[in-house]
């Protein structure tokens, strides 16, 4: 946040000579912004090429009706107006997928942020050696590609060969050939566990970095004044951590809302309807069933839904910036 706000203001030109101060200041500002634009040009070009153009094509596609025939021949698909959107928005299956994705996002983000914060707070308390160990362990989790982690979880929970069933059976429970994906709640618990587990390192490490901004003296003073740890956390630590918490939560929402790899891999590339999220659903429609336009429409709706959520957060972030 501070980095964003600390742009040198044009007014900081005290040595400007009296005759034409306004002009001098402006030309300086123009030169600055010119350099800024020049420096960000490569990034902007790449963004436009890699994100802008595909996004534009996706939006165009969502107003057409493209099938395999058009894909093969290269012919322009027939225009379909808002048909694809009507189809999605009036389909109860689609809304089921939206609700499921949103529900999963709320649960998984809450769990991972709480766990991340808890671990970050714990890391302040433990000795240096333990802290190092925790850091390294989390780095390993973080470094693991999503697909590899998902595959490992798939094996752990396999009904025939899975270690999880084996261990539970050894403990005296009847988990032989138990399938974890028959009951959607159990299946989603596995997926959520995987996502939360893989999400904790980023959150814990970022938040523990943020915690270093909380002055120890302040906490000590609070303790001297009779505040209990809970009060210190609520009234000192969290307010200081709030901007960072906001950002990592927002990022987690973005990532988890786009859940694809985990449920896709755990269901072996063909998720049942109860394991479909917006990302897999749009992929299945577009690439599985070759209804490219419908898939695109779903993607556009997903982006809009995300923006709806994001507006709230972005506004919050600007507010925080202004207060600073």
């Amino acid at each position: 946040m501070h980095a964003v706000d600390s742009r040198p203001a044009p007014a900081q030109a005290p040595q400007a000579t009296p005759p034409k101060p306004v002009k001098r200041v402006r030309s300086r500002g123009q030169r600055d912004s010119g350099v800024a634009w020049l420096l960000s040009l490569p990034t902007l070009l790449i963004l436009v090429a890699m994100l802008g153009y595909p996004l534009y094509r996706m939006i165009v596609l969502s107003f057409q009706n493209m099938r395999l025939r058009e894909l093969f021949s290269g012919a322009t698909p027939p225009w379909a107006g808002v048909d694809q959107y009507t189809k999605a928005l009036t389909d109860s299956v689609f809304w089921g997928v939206v609700a499921r994705t949103a529900g999963f996002t709320v649960v998984s983000v809450t769990l991972s942020v709480l766990a991340g914060l808890g671990i970050a707070l714990l890391m302040r308390r433990v000795t240096r050696g333990v802290r190092m160990f925790m850091m390294i362990a989390m780095m390993f989790v973080w470094a693991l590609p999503q697909l590899v982690a998902a595959q490992a979880f798939r094996w752990l929970t396999d009904s025939d060969f899975g270690v999880l069933n084996y261990v539970l059976t050894q403990l005296g429970l009847d988990y032989d050939t138990h399938s974890w994906f028959v009951n959607p709640w159990e299946g989603w618990a596995v997926i959520t566990a995987l996502v939360v587990w893989a999400g904790i390192p980023f959150l814990a490490i970022s938040l523990s970095a943020g915690l270093t901004q909380v002055p120890k003296e302040l906490l000590e003073a609070a303790t001297v004044d009779g505040a209990n740890p809970w009060q210190s956390l609520r009234n000192i630590t969290l307010p200081i951590l709030k901007p960072l918490l906001m950002i990592v939560t927002t990022l987690s929402v973005i990532w988890n809302f786009g859940l694809f790899t985990q449920n896709w891999a755990l269901r072996d590339g063909h998720p049942e309807p109860v394991y479909q999220t917006l990302a897999t659903y749009s992929y299945t429609q577009a690439f599985g069933r070759s209804i490219y336009s419908y898939g695109s429409a779903i993607s556009v709706i997903t982006v809009l839904l995300m923006l709806g959520v994001m507006v709230f957060y972005i506004r919050q972030m600007f507010k925080i910036g202004e207060v600073d």
Partner: protein, 437 residues
């Protein structure tokens, strides 16, 4: 969101390719596979599925050798995985650097023929084309034209543990469905000590099996009525078959109801099963595995059930006829060469090789020969004579992709839906998918 954009980028990339290469392949007439073509200095690209690599690589090499001798052209075979081959094919066919010959599952072909992905061929150019198995060639034909060539078939049989049969006092393979059930009963009681034991190992999403049971009582999946497809699973006959399958699975199988048949041979090879329902070659897969699963040339090591398996037709249950076809892509730059390669790869000599490798040949004329030449596939060859095939609808592949039947089966087996409710739901989904404009 990042992922959305990745999807969009992939789509856009495909679009670029499509725009760059333009239209080709329409109204050109059939590509001939006869006559001489000078292919010197040319290489054709062939996409075969991984089965050819694991089970009959020699046949591929032999056909390619004969093709190269005749035409002078080289062959570059790339083996594909079933899990993602269609997505890969779609993206590739949208571009201009396309494979010349592509293998697809017989139930997958209609969609591509309809979408103009494959070139027309001269049926008469290919050996045994007069007696091609209709379950395979059905998907190749559209409006009297032929767009692909049947390659091989697989009919499902029951594969069982001879040692456990003996122990249970069962002396011969079941002759009727009642025999089959009583054998399952005996296996179940005889092996009650093993908590993981399935008298009949049947994964819950094995829809080819479930639909075979539906066919066994005269049921249907869907039929065309006045140009519209109508789901038929709710019909009394279909429901009876479905119920029969569900009862059998609930009683004799401990298999995961959310798994399909992909891993069944491997799981069966662990020894906790009495019977499973699979393709003839799955017997081999259950008996021996590659020491290094990633290296098709590594040595074979026996499993726990090595030498203890036998196959027989499942009595009174018609078999699903699976298999593959080969097509020449419409965008191929070497259509004639490609058609020639297909000709060599599907001629009687190649078929003999396939029979040796325990795959069924592509024509009824060769089925009897298969049964006598290779006793291992005799039950499958018999099964193939009493076989069925999914509705030959252009969008059938979408029913498979949409997991409609799989979901119905899992829902019924877990008790989430009754047979009647599940069938009704599936009928609605199937009709919606097949009739989708």
């Amino acid at each position: 969101m990042k992922r959305k954009i990745a999807v969009a980028a992939a789509l856009a990339a495909s679009l670029f390719g499509a725009a760059a290469c333009g239209n080709s392949g329409s109204d050109e007439g059939a590509t001939s596979a006869n006559g001489t073509v000078d292919g010197k200095g040319k290489t054709i690209k062939v996409w075969l599925m991984v089965d050819a690599e694991t089970s009959w690589k020699g046949v591929v090499e032999d056909a390619s050798k004969r093709f190269t001798e005749a035409t002078g052209a080289q062959v570059n075979v790339e083996y594909q995985q079933w899990a993602n081959h269609l997505t890969k094919l779609d993206a590739t066919l949208a571009g201009s650097d396309v494979p010349d010959v592509v293998e697809l599952g017989n139930t997958e072909f209609s969609k591509y023929v309809f979408s103009g992905g494959f070139a027309e061929l001269n049926k008469g150019d290919f050996e045994n084309s007069g007696t091609w198995l209709s379950g395979l060639s059905g998907a190749c034909e559209s409006e009297g034209k032929t767009y692909c060539v049947p390659y091989y078939a697989g009919a499902r049989v029951m594969i069982y543990r001879t040692d456990l049969f003996e122990k249970a006092g069962i002396t011969e393979a079941p002759k009727t469905y009642a025999d089959f059930l009583s054998a399952a009963d005996k296996l179940q009681t005889g092996n009650a000590a093993d908590k993981k034991f399935s008298a009949v190992y049947m994964p819950g999403q094995y829809w080819y099996a479930a639909m075979s049971w539906v066919k066994s009582t005269g049921g249907e999946i869907a039929k065309q009525d006045g140009g519209k497809w109508v789901g038929q699973l709710s019909s009394p006959q279909s429901q009876e078959g479905l119920q029969r399958w569900v009862d059998m699975v609930k009683k004799y199988s401990k298999a995961d109801v959310t798994k399909n048949e992909n891993e069944q041979a491997g799981i069966f090879s662990q020894g906790s099963g009495g019977i499973f329902y699979g393709n003839a070659w799955e017997q081999g897969v259950a008996e021996e595995v590659r020491k290094d699963p990633n290296d098709p040339n590594s040595e074979l090591v026996p499993t726990k059930v090595k030498g203890k398996l036998a196959a027989a037709p499942l009595p009174d249950v018609p078999s699903f006829l699976g298999g593959s076809n080969l097509g020449v892509t419409a965008k191929s730059g070497n259509k004639e060469l490609a058609a020639q390669w297909v000709k060599y790869f599907t001629d009687s000599k190649s078929m003999e090789g396939l029979i040796k490798a325990s795959a069924l040949p592509n024509a009824t004329a060769l089925l009897d020969k298969a049964a006598t030449d290779n006793p291992k596939i005799a039950p499958a060859a018999l099964s193939a004579k009493n076989s069925w095939f999914p509705p030959n609808a252009e969008k059938w592949a979408d029913v498979e992709k949409g997991n409609i039947l799989q979901t119905m089966l899992t829902d019924i087996l877990t008790g989430k839906k009754t047979v009647a409710d599940g069938a009704k739901w599936a009928d609605e989904q199937i009709a919606a998918t097949l009739n989708e404009a």
